[in-house]
């Protein structure tokens, strides 16, 4: 039954997108990280489902990577960093929740309007998956913009990368090596971020990036 295949893939993609909105909505750091872990788990499920319907075993590797790395290792690491650095648990948002959500829905509409005319000659499944993935990427960017806290920005970056993987698993014939490279690039970026956290914290006693502006000579 191809239609139920399509429906479940679509549903899992939409779940990832929905969790992107949940990320935008969160005000507490721990809740934010938990949401990110759930999003990564949903991404893993989406990748495994795509592997099943496309009959592509390498997608299972992607699913396991997403599940192991991003749903378990990175959230636990972030959790430990927060506890270790003893930083404030609430997030200062640069924009209110209402305007952020409106911006989010506009971004989703934008990505749908952008993807659909460009990809008129592929299957409906791929088109909608691409639209969903682009929305997740844009919402990840929005999360990064609206958070002043460095950890919030890292979670936004990671969720942006979730969108990239969602796009990659939706397209048929994406080689495993490319996905592995993306995953490891993000891993490296995460380690660098971690080191930066400690340095910023040591130097300025905060992870609120807003406080850094005055050190750059920009007046408040």
């Amino acid at each position: 039954m191809p239609s139920i295949h399509y429906d479940i893939a679509h549903l899992l993609g939409a779940l990832v997108l929905l969790l992107s909105f949940a990320l935008l909505y969160q005000r507490r750091l721990f809740a934010l990280i938990k949401m990110f872990a759930i999003q990564s788990a949903a991404l893993g499920a989406a990748a495994a489902w795509q592997g099943y319907i496309q009959d592509a075993p390498h997608l299972y590797v992607t699913a396991v990577l997403a599940l192991g790395m991003k749903a378990v290792v990175i959230p636990v690491a972030l959790h430990r960093i927060i506890v270790k650095l003893n930083i404030a648990r609430t997030i200062d948002t640069a924009l209110g929740v209402g305007p952020t959500m409106i911006a989010g829905v506009s971004l989703v509409t934008l990505s749908i309007l952008l993807v659909l005319p460009v990809t008129s000659d592929v299957t409906a499944l791929t088109r909608e998956d691409l639209a969903l993935a682009l929305s997740v990427v844009l919402l990840g960017l929005l999360t990064m913009i609206t958070r002043r806290n460095a950890i919030g920005q890292v979670v936004g970056f990671m969720s942006l990368e979730n969108g990239l993987i969602l796009a990659a698993v939706g397209v048929q014939g994406m080689p495993l090596i490319v996905e592995m490279l993306v995953a490891f690039a993000v891993m490296v970026a995460f380690i660098i971020f971690g080191i930066f956290f400690f340095h910023i914290r040591e130097r300025f006693d905060t992870l609120d990036l807003h406080d850094l502006d005055s050190f750059r000579g920009e007046s408040r």
């Binding site: 479940i8 939409a14 929905l18 409906a124």
Partner: protein, 321 residues
């Protein structure tokens, strides 16, 4: 044959209205019992809401000196509007006498007019609590109603009708399948239903005389049979929302026209089972979550509105493919 069908439809309609009237306090009682058990208390007996209503009906009405005719007629108006709205939703059979008028938009209009009169009555006597409750109720309404209408539009785009019995037929025929928009619409409708019924994250139904209450503040001046009618209308509204969600998203078991008595019996049993399942889920949800600050209602209901909007956008896209 036509006459028989029309007669049967009339009978079913009367049965449905009586059934809802009978079940509504029981459902509220069931939610209270389950909540109490989850908290480790024994809780009130299941029939407590019935006893409360009977006691209130026997008591005399105490009216404020400056209460106008509006204050006295509102309980009757509110109860009638909500009972009528509940009568429109197919619960155990789609062959109802009111099927032709059972339109989702009419349903929203009935609920909105009930709320309008209740808010006016809250301000009628001129106490500060009533005005506060009315203003909060209207704030919730301005956000919940657009979300509800967006959900209706999503369903209407998919099914190409706003008639409830046709929606049930279409959903039962299996022509829909799993749809992202329907999932989004369901979540949004659940959020709206929680807000409209004054359940926990928005309003605590167990509180009395608290600064954060909404519905209780609005009806604080009512007593006797007026209060009984308003309370009964509130319980009916809970049944209505559960029946509505069940009839749009889980229509299995509802008997079609021309079905025999066995199907009707199945319809009745599944309807009661759906209500019990809804009560269990609601009680579990309410136990697991804390009440929200008044200033965060906008975010909660704005979220519902955005979800329904997102559902409509996806539907628009996927029907365009």
């Amino acid at each position: 044959m036509m006459v028989v069908q029309a007669l049967l439809a009339g009978v079913f309609q009367v049965v449905q209205m009586a059934l809802l009237l009978l079940l509504a306090p029981g459902l509220t009682g069931l939610v209270r019992v389950i909540k109490a058990r989850l908290l480790g208390r024994r809780g009130p007996p299941l029939v407590q809401p019935y006893l409360d209503l009977l006691r209130l009906l026997k008591k005399e009405v105490v009216l404020a000196e400056n209460a106008s005719w509006l204050f006295r007629t509102t309980p009757y108006l509110v109860f009638t509007a909500i009972w009528l709205a509940a009568a429109l939703v197919p619960t155990f059979s789609t062959a109802l006498a009111l099927t032709a008028t059972a339109d989702l938009i009419a349903l929203v209009a009935l609920l909105a007019s009930a709320r309008f009169f209740l808010a006016l009555a809250g301000m009628d006597v001129g106490t500060s609590f009533g005005g506060l409750g009315s203003s909060r109720e209207m704030m919730i309404a301005t956000l919940a109603e657009p979300a509800m209408l967006m959900v209706i539009f999503s369903v209407a785009i998919l099914v190409r009708t706003t008639s409830l019995s046709l929606i049930v037929d279409f959903m039962l025929s299996g022509g829909v399948g799993l749809r992202v928009s329907l999932a989004l619409a369901l979540i949004s409708l659940l959020m709206v239903a929680i807000a409209e019924n004054g359940r926990v994250p928005i309003d605590n139904p167990a509180t009395h005389l608290e600064l954060t209450m909404v519905h209780e503040a609005m009806v604080l001046e009512y007593s006797g049979r007026h209060l009984a009618l308003i309370e009964a209308a509130g319980m009916m509204k809970l049944v209505l929302y559960m029946a509505l969600i069940a009839c749009i998203f889980l229509p299995w078991g509802i008997a079609a026209p021309n079905d025999g008595p066995v199907e009707l019996l199945i319809g009745l049993v599944t309807f009661v089972l759906k209500l019990v399942a809804g009560a269990v889920l609601l009680a579990m949800f309410e136990t697991g979550i804390a009440k929200m600050r008044v200033f965060r209602y906008g975010e909660f209901l704005g979220g519902a509105l955005l979800l329904s909007l997102l559902g409509a956008i996806f539907l628009y896209v996927s029907t365009g493919l």
